[in-house]
Protein backbone atom coordinates (compact mmCIF):
# COMPACT_ATOMS: atom_id res chain seq x y z
CA UNK A 1 0.00 0.00 0.00
CA UNK A 2 2.76 2.40 0.88
CA UNK A 3 4.29 2.00 -2.59
CA UNK A 4 1.24 3.60 -4.24
CA UNK A 5 1.44 7.30 -5.15
CA UNK A 6 -0.20 9.46 -2.51
CA UNK A 7 -3.21 11.64 -3.32
CA UNK A 8 -4.66 14.47 -1.24
CA UNK A 9 -7.78 16.54 -1.83
CA UNK A 10 -8.68 19.59 0.18
CA UNK A 11 -11.36 22.26 0.20
CA UNK A 12 -10.77 25.81 1.34
CA UNK A 13 -13.34 28.60 0.71
CA UNK A 14 -15.60 26.64 -1.60
CA UNK A 15 -19.11 25.25 -1.82
CA UNK A 16 -18.09 21.59 -1.95
CA UNK A 17 -19.18 21.18 -5.55
CA UNK A 18 -15.65 20.36 -6.71
CA UNK A 19 -15.54 17.48 -4.22
CA UNK A 20 -18.80 16.13 -5.60
CA UNK A 21 -17.52 16.64 -9.14
CA UNK A 22 -14.64 14.27 -8.35
CA UNK A 23 -17.22 11.62 -7.45
CA UNK A 24 -19.03 12.37 -10.72
CA UNK A 25 -16.39 10.27 -12.47
CA UNK A 26 -18.53 7.41 -11.04
CA UNK A 27 -17.03 3.92 -11.03
CA UNK A 28 -13.70 5.30 -12.24
CA UNK A 29 -13.21 6.50 -8.67
CA UNK A 30 -12.31 2.83 -8.02
CA UNK A 31 -9.49 3.13 -10.55
CA UNK A 32 -8.31 6.24 -8.71
CA UNK A 33 -8.41 4.34 -5.44
CA UNK A 34 -6.61 1.38 -7.01
CA UNK A 35 -3.78 3.57 -8.28
CA UNK A 36 -3.50 6.15 -5.51
CA UNK A 37 -3.28 5.91 -1.79
CA UNK A 38 -5.70 8.63 -0.58
CA UNK A 39 -3.91 10.20 2.38
CA UNK A 40 -6.09 13.25 3.00
CA UNK A 41 -9.61 14.08 1.84
CA UNK A 42 -11.76 15.62 4.59
CA UNK A 43 -15.02 15.17 2.73
CA UNK A 44 -14.56 11.44 2.21
CA UNK A 45 -11.92 9.88 4.48
CA UNK A 46 -11.06 10.39 8.12
CA UNK A 47 -7.56 11.82 8.24
CA UNK A 48 -6.77 14.88 10.31
CA UNK A 49 -4.62 17.92 9.71
CA UNK A 50 -2.09 16.59 12.22
CA UNK A 51 -1.64 13.53 9.97
CA UNK A 52 -0.62 15.86 7.14
CA UNK A 53 1.60 17.89 9.47
CA UNK A 54 3.39 14.67 10.44
CA UNK A 55 4.27 13.84 6.81
CA UNK A 56 7.64 14.46 5.20
CA UNK A 57 7.87 17.45 2.85
CA UNK A 58 6.96 16.36 -0.66
CA UNK A 59 5.52 13.07 0.57
CA UNK A 60 2.16 13.61 -1.18
CA UNK A 61 2.50 13.02 -4.92
CA UNK A 62 -0.59 14.89 -6.08
CA UNK A 63 -2.76 17.44 -4.27
CA UNK A 64 -6.01 18.67 -5.78
CA UNK A 65 -6.76 21.87 -3.88
CA UNK A 66 -10.16 23.42 -4.41
CA UNK A 67 -11.51 26.61 -2.87
CA UNK A 68 -10.32 30.18 -2.61
CA UNK A 69 -8.30 31.57 0.28
CA UNK A 70 -10.60 33.56 2.55
CA UNK A 71 -9.37 32.83 6.10
CA UNK A 72 -6.09 32.33 7.94
CA UNK A 73 -6.94 28.62 8.11
CA UNK A 74 -7.33 28.41 4.31
CA UNK A 75 -3.94 30.04 3.95
CA UNK A 76 -2.30 27.73 6.49
CA UNK A 77 -3.69 24.66 4.71
CA UNK A 78 -2.63 25.97 1.29
CA UNK A 79 0.94 26.46 2.49
CA UNK A 80 0.99 23.18 4.42
CA UNK A 81 -0.26 21.12 1.47
CA UNK A 82 2.09 22.93 -0.90
CA UNK A 83 5.02 21.95 1.29
CA UNK A 84 3.90 18.34 1.59
CA UNK A 85 3.01 17.88 -2.10
CA UNK A 86 5.14 17.26 -5.16
CA UNK A 87 2.40 18.46 -7.52
CA UNK A 88 -0.03 21.15 -6.39
CA UNK A 89 -3.10 21.60 -8.55
CA UNK A 90 -5.51 24.54 -8.26
CA UNK A 91 -8.68 22.56 -8.79
CA UNK A 92 -11.82 24.41 -9.80
CA UNK A 93 -12.63 28.05 -10.36
CA UNK A 94 -12.28 29.16 -6.69
CA UNK A 95 -8.69 27.95 -6.46
CA UNK A 96 -7.92 29.19 -10.01
CA UNK A 97 -9.45 32.71 -9.97
CA UNK A 98 -11.46 33.22 -6.79
CA UNK A 99 -14.91 32.38 -8.21
CA UNK A 100 -18.04 33.26 -6.21
CA UNK A 101 -16.27 33.74 -2.83
CA UNK A 102 -14.08 36.44 -4.40
CA UNK A 103 -17.17 38.46 -5.32
CA UNK A 104 -16.98 39.71 -1.75
CA UNK A 105 -13.93 41.66 -2.95
CA UNK A 106 -16.55 44.09 -4.27
CA UNK A 107 -17.34 45.03 -0.69
CA UNK A 108 -15.61 45.04 2.70
CA UNK A 109 -14.96 42.35 5.27
CA UNK A 110 -17.07 44.29 7.77
CA UNK A 111 -20.00 44.59 5.36
CA UNK A 112 -19.79 40.87 4.56
CA UNK A 113 -19.78 39.89 8.24
CA UNK A 114 -22.60 42.33 9.08
CA UNK A 115 -24.78 40.92 6.34
CA UNK A 116 -24.09 37.26 7.04
CA UNK A 117 -24.26 37.36 10.84
CA UNK A 118 -26.73 40.17 11.54
CA UNK A 119 -28.56 41.97 8.76
CA UNK A 120 -29.76 39.36 6.27
CA UNK A 121 -33.54 38.77 6.52
CA UNK A 122 -33.12 35.14 7.58
CA UNK A 123 -30.84 36.01 10.51
CA UNK A 124 -31.95 36.88 14.05
CA UNK A 125 -29.03 38.40 15.94
CA UNK A 126 -30.29 41.45 17.89
CA UNK A 127 -27.10 41.64 20.00
CA UNK A 128 -24.97 41.56 16.85
CA UNK A 129 -22.83 38.70 18.11
CA UNK A 130 -19.92 38.38 15.69
CA UNK A 131 -17.42 35.54 15.34
CA UNK A 132 -14.25 36.13 17.35
CA UNK A 133 -10.82 34.63 16.74
CA UNK A 134 -10.61 33.65 20.41
CA UNK A 135 -13.39 33.10 22.95
CA UNK A 136 -12.80 32.27 26.61
CA UNK A 137 -15.01 29.53 27.96
CA UNK A 138 -14.93 27.60 31.28
CA UNK A 139 -13.34 24.68 29.46
CA UNK A 140 -10.67 26.72 27.69
CA UNK A 141 -10.20 29.04 24.74
CA UNK A 142 -12.09 28.34 21.55
CA UNK A 143 -10.34 29.60 18.45
CA UNK A 144 -11.66 30.50 15.02
CA UNK A 145 -9.58 31.44 11.98
CA UNK A 146 -9.09 35.08 11.04
CA UNK A 147 -11.40 36.27 8.25
CA UNK A 148 -9.34 38.21 5.71
CA UNK A 149 -10.44 41.45 4.07
CA UNK A 150 -9.72 40.16 0.56
CA UNK A 151 -10.32 36.75 -1.02
CA UNK A 152 -7.36 35.40 -2.97
CA UNK A 153 -6.83 32.56 -5.39
CA UNK A 154 -4.47 29.71 -4.52
CA UNK A 155 -1.82 31.08 -6.88
CA UNK A 156 -1.84 34.39 -4.98
CA UNK A 157 -0.94 32.58 -1.75
CA UNK A 158 1.40 29.80 -2.73
CA UNK A 159 3.20 28.18 -5.65
CA UNK A 160 0.86 26.27 -7.97
CA UNK A 161 1.95 23.74 -10.61
CA UNK A 162 -1.22 23.21 -12.64
CA UNK A 163 -4.68 24.66 -13.01
CA UNK A 164 -7.94 22.79 -13.61
CA UNK A 165 -10.66 25.43 -14.18
CA UNK A 166 -14.43 25.13 -14.01
CA UNK A 167 -17.23 25.56 -11.53
CA UNK A 168 -17.06 22.70 -11.04
CA UNK A 169 -14.59 21.05 -13.44
CA UNK A 170 -16.62 18.72 -15.63
CA UNK A 171 -16.40 15.02 -14.78
CA UNK A 172 -15.03 14.00 -18.19
CA UNK A 173 -12.30 16.63 -17.84
CA UNK A 174 -11.45 15.49 -14.30
CA UNK A 175 -11.11 11.94 -15.49
CA UNK A 176 -9.01 13.06 -18.46
CA UNK A 177 -6.65 14.85 -16.05
CA UNK A 178 -6.45 11.95 -13.59
CA UNK A 179 -5.95 9.47 -16.42
CA UNK A 180 -3.12 11.60 -17.81
CA UNK A 181 -1.51 11.86 -14.37
CA UNK A 182 -1.78 8.10 -13.84
CA UNK A 183 -0.24 7.52 -17.28
CA UNK A 184 2.61 9.93 -16.52
CA UNK A 185 3.34 8.35 -13.14
CA UNK A 186 3.01 4.75 -14.31
CA UNK A 187 5.17 5.16 -17.39
CA UNK A 188 7.61 7.74 -16.08
CA UNK A 189 6.62 10.27 -18.72
CA UNK A 190 7.59 13.96 -18.48
CA UNK A 191 5.14 16.30 -16.78
CA UNK A 192 3.55 19.13 -18.78
CA UNK A 193 5.23 22.54 -18.33
CA UNK A 194 4.53 24.23 -15.02
CA UNK A 195 1.54 26.56 -15.10
CA UNK A 196 -0.33 24.54 -17.73
CA UNK A 197 -4.12 24.71 -17.62
CA UNK A 198 -5.30 21.10 -17.63
CA UNK A 199 -8.73 19.68 -18.36
CA UNK A 200 -9.83 22.59 -20.53
CA UNK A 201 -9.69 23.77 -24.12
CA UNK A 202 -7.45 26.33 -25.75
CA UNK A 203 -10.24 28.34 -27.41
CA UNK A 204 -13.25 30.23 -26.10
CA UNK A 205 -16.58 28.80 -25.01
CA UNK A 206 -18.06 30.07 -28.33
CA UNK A 207 -16.00 27.39 -30.09
CA UNK A 208 -18.02 24.67 -28.37
CA UNK A 209 -21.34 26.47 -28.59
CA UNK A 210 -23.89 24.71 -30.82
CA UNK A 211 -25.69 27.99 -31.61
CA UNK A 212 -25.38 29.96 -34.82
CA UNK A 213 -23.65 33.31 -34.68
CA UNK A 214 -24.65 35.88 -37.26
CA UNK A 215 -22.82 38.88 -35.80
CA UNK A 216 -26.02 40.82 -35.42
CA UNK A 217 -26.03 44.22 -33.82
CA UNK A 218 -28.49 44.86 -31.05
CA UNK A 219 -30.51 47.82 -29.79
CA UNK A 220 -30.98 46.59 -26.24
CA UNK A 221 -29.92 43.95 -23.73
CA UNK A 222 -32.41 41.62 -22.10
CA UNK A 223 -32.01 39.33 -19.11
CA UNK A 224 -32.57 35.63 -19.43
CA UNK A 225 -35.76 35.59 -17.37
CA UNK A 226 -37.36 38.24 -19.57
CA UNK A 227 -37.36 36.25 -22.82
CA UNK A 228 -37.60 32.76 -24.20
CA UNK A 229 -34.46 32.62 -26.33
CA UNK A 230 -34.45 31.20 -29.82
CA UNK A 231 -32.98 27.68 -29.50
CA UNK A 232 -30.57 27.93 -32.44
CA UNK A 233 -29.36 31.53 -32.50
CA UNK A 234 -26.36 32.97 -30.64
CA UNK A 235 -27.55 34.34 -27.30
CA UNK A 236 -25.45 37.49 -27.67
CA UNK A 237 -27.13 38.11 -31.04
CA UNK A 238 -30.41 38.01 -29.12
CA UNK A 239 -29.21 40.66 -26.67
CA UNK A 240 -28.57 38.26 -23.79
CA UNK A 241 -25.28 38.91 -21.97
CA UNK A 242 -23.36 35.68 -22.55
CA UNK A 243 -19.78 35.37 -21.25
CA UNK A 244 -18.84 32.89 -23.98
CA UNK A 245 -16.51 35.19 -25.98
CA UNK A 246 -14.38 35.92 -22.89
CA UNK A 247 -14.37 32.42 -21.39
CA UNK A 248 -12.10 29.41 -21.88
CA UNK A 249 -13.59 26.37 -23.57
CA UNK A 250 -13.63 22.99 -21.91
CA UNK A 251 -17.12 22.54 -20.51
CA UNK A 252 -18.55 21.43 -23.85
CA UNK A 253 -20.95 24.38 -24.00
CA UNK A 254 -23.29 22.99 -21.34
CA UNK A 255 -25.12 26.16 -20.37
CA UNK A 256 -25.54 27.58 -23.85
CA UNK A 257 -26.87 24.24 -25.11
CA UNK A 258 -29.45 24.35 -22.33
CA UNK A 259 -30.59 27.85 -23.34
CA UNK A 260 -28.80 29.68 -20.54
CA UNK A 261 -25.99 32.18 -21.22
CA UNK A 262 -22.43 31.23 -20.33
CA UNK A 263 -21.54 32.64 -16.92
CA UNK A 264 -17.80 32.37 -17.43
CA UNK A 265 -16.83 29.60 -15.00
CA UNK A 266 -13.89 28.25 -17.03
CA UNK A 267 -12.10 31.56 -16.44
CA UNK A 268 -10.42 33.95 -18.87
CA UNK A 269 -9.81 32.72 -22.41
CA UNK A 270 -6.28 31.50 -23.25
CA UNK A 271 -3.76 34.34 -23.58
CA UNK A 272 -6.00 36.81 -21.82
CA UNK A 273 -5.59 37.68 -18.19
CA UNK A 274 -8.59 39.82 -17.48
CA UNK A 275 -11.95 38.26 -18.24
CA UNK A 276 -13.91 41.44 -17.47
CA UNK A 277 -12.18 43.81 -19.86
CA UNK A 278 -12.32 41.20 -22.62
CA UNK A 279 -16.05 41.05 -22.05
CA UNK A 280 -16.27 44.85 -22.26
CA UNK A 281 -14.66 44.66 -25.70
CA UNK A 282 -16.90 41.80 -26.82
CA UNK A 283 -20.13 43.42 -25.65
CA UNK A 284 -19.27 46.84 -27.04
CA UNK A 285 -18.97 45.36 -30.51
CA UNK A 286 -22.55 44.06 -30.59
CA UNK A 287 -24.12 47.43 -29.72
CA UNK A 288 -25.87 48.97 -32.68
CA UNK A 289 -25.42 52.69 -32.11
CA UNK A 290 -22.99 55.50 -32.73
CA UNK A 291 -24.86 57.96 -30.55
CA UNK A 292 -23.45 58.42 -27.03
CA UNK A 293 -26.86 58.87 -25.41
CA UNK A 294 -28.34 55.84 -27.11
CA UNK A 295 -25.27 53.78 -26.21
CA UNK A 296 -25.82 54.70 -22.57
CA UNK A 297 -29.48 53.73 -22.80
CA UNK A 298 -28.52 50.35 -24.29
CA UNK A 299 -25.86 49.83 -21.61
CA UNK A 300 -28.44 50.46 -18.88
CA UNK A 301 -29.67 46.97 -19.75
CA UNK A 302 -26.49 45.44 -18.34
CA UNK A 303 -27.14 45.01 -14.66
CA UNK A 304 -24.08 44.82 -12.39
CA UNK A 305 -21.15 44.81 -14.85
CA UNK A 306 -18.54 43.73 -12.26
CA UNK A 307 -20.61 40.91 -10.82
CA UNK A 308 -21.40 39.69 -14.33
CA UNK A 309 -18.02 40.06 -16.03
CA UNK A 310 -15.90 38.97 -13.03
CA UNK A 311 -18.33 36.48 -11.54
CA UNK A 312 -15.65 33.78 -11.55
CA UNK A 313 -12.41 35.74 -11.78
CA UNK A 314 -12.70 38.63 -9.34
CA UNK A 315 -9.54 37.63 -7.44
CA UNK A 316 -7.58 38.05 -10.68
CA UNK A 317 -9.16 41.32 -11.84
CA UNK A 318 -6.39 43.67 -13.03
CA UNK A 319 -7.81 46.43 -10.85
CA UNK A 320 -7.70 44.17 -7.79
CA UNK A 321 -10.41 44.45 -5.21
CA UNK A 322 -13.00 47.21 -5.32
CA UNK A 323 -11.65 50.34 -3.67
CA UNK A 324 -14.02 51.48 -0.99
CA UNK A 325 -14.31 55.27 -1.02
CA UNK A 326 -13.79 56.20 2.62
CA UNK A 327 -10.35 55.58 4.13
CA UNK A 328 -12.13 53.98 7.10
CA UNK A 329 -13.19 50.64 5.68
CA UNK A 330 -14.50 49.32 8.99
CA UNK A 331 -17.94 50.89 8.62
CA UNK A 332 -20.81 49.90 6.39
CA UNK A 333 -19.18 51.34 3.31
CA UNK A 334 -20.28 48.31 1.36
CA UNK A 335 -21.74 50.20 -1.55
CA UNK A 336 -19.42 50.18 -4.48
Amino acid sequence: MSSKPKLALYWAASCGGCEIAVLDIKEKILDVDAFFDVVFWPVAVDFKVKDVEAMQDGEIDLCLFNGAVRTSDNEYMAELLRRKSKIMVAFGSCACEGCIPALSNTTTRAATLDWVFADSPSTVNPDRVMPQTATETPVGTIELPEFWETVRSLEQVTDVDYFVPGCPPQAHQIWAVLEAVIDIMENDKPLPPKGTVLGAGDKTCCDECPRERQEKKIKGFVRIHEVIPDPDQCLLDQGIVCMGPATRSGCGGLCVAAGVPCRGCYGPAPNSKDQGTKMVAALASVIDSDDPEEIDRILDGIVDPIGTFYRFSMAHATLGRVTIGAPDSSGNGGES
Binding site: T106, S272, K273, D274, G276, T277, K278, V280, A281, L283, A284, S285, I287, S289, D290, P292, I295, D296, L299, I302, P305, I306, F309, A317, T318, L319, G320, R321, V322, T323, I324, G325, S336
Partner: protein, 151 residues
Protein backbone atom coordinates in the same frame (compact mmCIF):
# COMPACT_ATOMS: atom_id res chain seq x y z
CA UNK B 1 8.37 52.56 -28.58
CA UNK B 2 8.61 49.16 -26.91
CA UNK B 3 7.70 48.77 -23.31
CA UNK B 4 9.82 45.99 -21.90
CA UNK B 5 9.51 46.43 -18.18
CA UNK B 6 6.65 45.77 -15.84
CA UNK B 7 7.89 48.31 -13.29
CA UNK B 8 5.23 50.59 -11.83
CA UNK B 9 4.90 53.88 -13.63
CA UNK B 10 4.71 55.77 -10.40
CA UNK B 11 8.28 55.35 -9.23
CA UNK B 12 10.15 57.84 -11.43
CA UNK B 13 7.33 60.36 -10.93
CA UNK B 14 8.43 61.20 -7.41
CA UNK B 15 11.21 63.65 -8.10
CA UNK B 16 10.18 66.19 -5.52
CA UNK B 17 7.98 65.96 -2.47
CA UNK B 18 5.17 67.49 -4.48
CA UNK B 19 2.88 64.94 -6.11
CA UNK B 20 2.66 65.10 -9.87
CA UNK B 21 -0.11 63.26 -11.69
CA UNK B 22 0.68 60.52 -14.20
CA UNK B 23 -1.60 60.58 -17.19
CA UNK B 24 -1.27 58.07 -20.02
CA UNK B 25 -2.66 59.24 -23.35
CA UNK B 26 -3.32 56.74 -26.14
CA UNK B 27 -3.38 58.65 -29.43
CA UNK B 28 -4.35 57.29 -32.81
CA UNK B 29 -1.63 57.42 -35.44
CA UNK B 30 -3.60 59.22 -38.11
CA UNK B 31 -5.31 62.17 -36.41
CA UNK B 32 -4.54 62.66 -32.74
CA UNK B 33 -0.85 61.81 -32.70
CA UNK B 34 -0.32 64.11 -35.64
CA UNK B 35 -2.40 66.73 -33.83
CA UNK B 36 -0.15 66.44 -30.77
CA UNK B 37 2.84 66.66 -33.09
CA UNK B 38 1.41 69.85 -34.55
CA UNK B 39 1.05 71.26 -31.03
CA UNK B 40 4.74 70.49 -30.59
CA UNK B 41 5.98 72.09 -33.78
CA UNK B 42 3.69 75.06 -33.12
CA UNK B 43 5.48 75.35 -29.75
CA UNK B 44 2.25 75.16 -27.78
CA UNK B 45 3.02 74.23 -24.18
CA UNK B 46 1.03 71.50 -22.52
CA UNK B 47 1.15 69.79 -19.17
CA UNK B 48 4.20 67.50 -18.85
CA UNK B 49 2.30 64.98 -16.73
CA UNK B 50 0.69 63.60 -19.89
CA UNK B 51 2.71 60.78 -21.50
CA UNK B 52 1.74 59.75 -25.00
CA UNK B 53 1.50 56.21 -26.37
CA UNK B 54 0.82 55.99 -30.09
CA UNK B 55 -1.62 53.33 -31.30
CA UNK B 56 -2.61 52.75 -34.91
CA UNK B 57 -6.28 53.51 -34.25
CA UNK B 58 -8.34 54.41 -31.20
CA UNK B 59 -10.23 51.23 -32.09
CA UNK B 60 -7.06 49.32 -31.16
CA UNK B 61 -7.71 50.26 -27.54
CA UNK B 62 -8.34 47.02 -25.74
CA UNK B 63 -10.05 47.92 -22.44
CA UNK B 64 -7.32 45.84 -20.80
CA UNK B 65 -4.77 48.56 -21.71
CA UNK B 66 -6.74 51.09 -19.68
CA UNK B 67 -7.13 48.98 -16.54
CA UNK B 68 -3.50 47.93 -16.79
CA UNK B 69 -2.43 51.58 -16.93
CA UNK B 70 -4.53 52.32 -13.83
CA UNK B 71 -3.22 49.26 -12.00
CA UNK B 72 0.40 50.22 -12.78
CA UNK B 73 0.18 53.74 -11.43
CA UNK B 74 -1.60 55.98 -13.94
CA UNK B 75 -3.89 58.53 -12.29
CA UNK B 76 -5.73 59.26 -15.50
CA UNK B 77 -6.05 57.88 -19.03
CA UNK B 78 -6.88 59.79 -22.21
CA UNK B 79 -7.94 58.02 -25.38
CA UNK B 80 -7.98 60.23 -28.45
CA UNK B 81 -9.01 59.36 -31.98
CA UNK B 82 -10.21 60.90 -35.22
CA UNK B 83 -13.52 62.75 -35.20
CA UNK B 84 -16.59 60.56 -35.85
CA UNK B 85 -16.80 59.89 -39.56
CA UNK B 86 -13.10 60.64 -40.10
CA UNK B 87 -11.56 57.36 -38.90
CA UNK B 88 -8.79 56.12 -41.15
CA UNK B 89 -10.27 52.64 -40.73
CA UNK B 90 -13.87 53.83 -41.22
CA UNK B 91 -15.30 52.98 -37.80
CA UNK B 92 -12.57 52.21 -35.26
CA UNK B 93 -13.43 55.33 -33.26
CA UNK B 94 -17.09 54.25 -32.99
CA UNK B 95 -15.96 50.92 -31.56
CA UNK B 96 -13.90 52.74 -28.98
CA UNK B 97 -16.80 55.07 -28.18
CA UNK B 98 -18.97 52.07 -27.22
CA UNK B 99 -16.19 50.40 -25.28
CA UNK B 100 -15.34 53.51 -23.29
CA UNK B 101 -18.96 54.01 -22.26
CA UNK B 102 -19.08 50.47 -20.86
CA UNK B 103 -15.56 50.64 -19.45
CA UNK B 104 -16.41 53.81 -17.50
CA UNK B 105 -19.22 51.89 -15.80
CA UNK B 106 -16.82 49.07 -15.00
CA UNK B 107 -14.08 51.21 -13.47
CA UNK B 108 -16.68 53.18 -11.51
CA UNK B 109 -17.72 49.85 -10.02
CA UNK B 110 -14.12 49.32 -8.93
CA UNK B 111 -14.20 52.65 -7.09
CA UNK B 112 -12.33 54.66 -9.75
CA UNK B 113 -13.90 58.00 -10.69
CA UNK B 114 -15.00 57.57 -14.34
CA UNK B 115 -13.70 61.08 -15.04
CA UNK B 116 -10.21 59.62 -14.78
CA UNK B 117 -10.87 58.09 -18.20
CA UNK B 118 -11.42 60.61 -20.98
CA UNK B 119 -12.31 59.97 -24.60
CA UNK B 120 -11.76 62.86 -27.01
CA UNK B 121 -11.57 63.46 -30.74
CA UNK B 122 -8.59 65.47 -31.98
CA UNK B 123 -7.85 65.87 -35.67
CA UNK B 124 -4.42 66.33 -37.25
CA UNK B 125 -5.02 70.07 -37.54
CA UNK B 126 -6.11 70.57 -33.95
CA UNK B 127 -2.83 71.05 -32.10
CA UNK B 128 -4.33 73.70 -29.86
CA UNK B 129 -7.28 71.44 -28.97
CA UNK B 130 -4.86 68.70 -28.02
CA UNK B 131 -2.93 71.03 -25.70
CA UNK B 132 -6.20 72.21 -24.18
CA UNK B 133 -7.38 68.61 -23.65
CA UNK B 134 -4.11 67.63 -21.99
CA UNK B 135 -4.17 70.69 -19.71
CA UNK B 136 -7.82 70.20 -18.76
CA UNK B 137 -7.24 66.54 -17.94
CA UNK B 138 -4.12 67.33 -15.88
CA UNK B 139 -6.08 69.97 -13.94
CA UNK B 140 -8.91 67.51 -13.33
CA UNK B 141 -6.55 64.79 -12.11
CA UNK B 142 -4.84 67.27 -9.79
CA UNK B 143 -8.25 68.02 -8.31
CA UNK B 144 -9.07 64.33 -7.94
CA UNK B 145 -5.66 63.53 -6.43
CA UNK B 146 -3.61 60.34 -6.64
CA UNK B 147 -5.40 57.12 -7.54
CA UNK B 148 -5.19 54.21 -5.15
CA UNK B 149 -6.12 50.98 -6.88
CA UNK B 150 -7.27 47.85 -5.13
CA UNK B 151 -7.04 48.87 -1.49
Amino acid sequence: MTVTTEAPLREPAVVSSEWRPRIVAFLCNWCSYTGADLAGISRIQWDPSVSIVRVMCSGRMDPTFVVKAFSMGADGVIISGCHPGDCHYQEGNYKTLRRVHLLKRLIEGFGIDPERLKLVWVSASEGDQWAETANEMAAKIRDLGPLEVGS
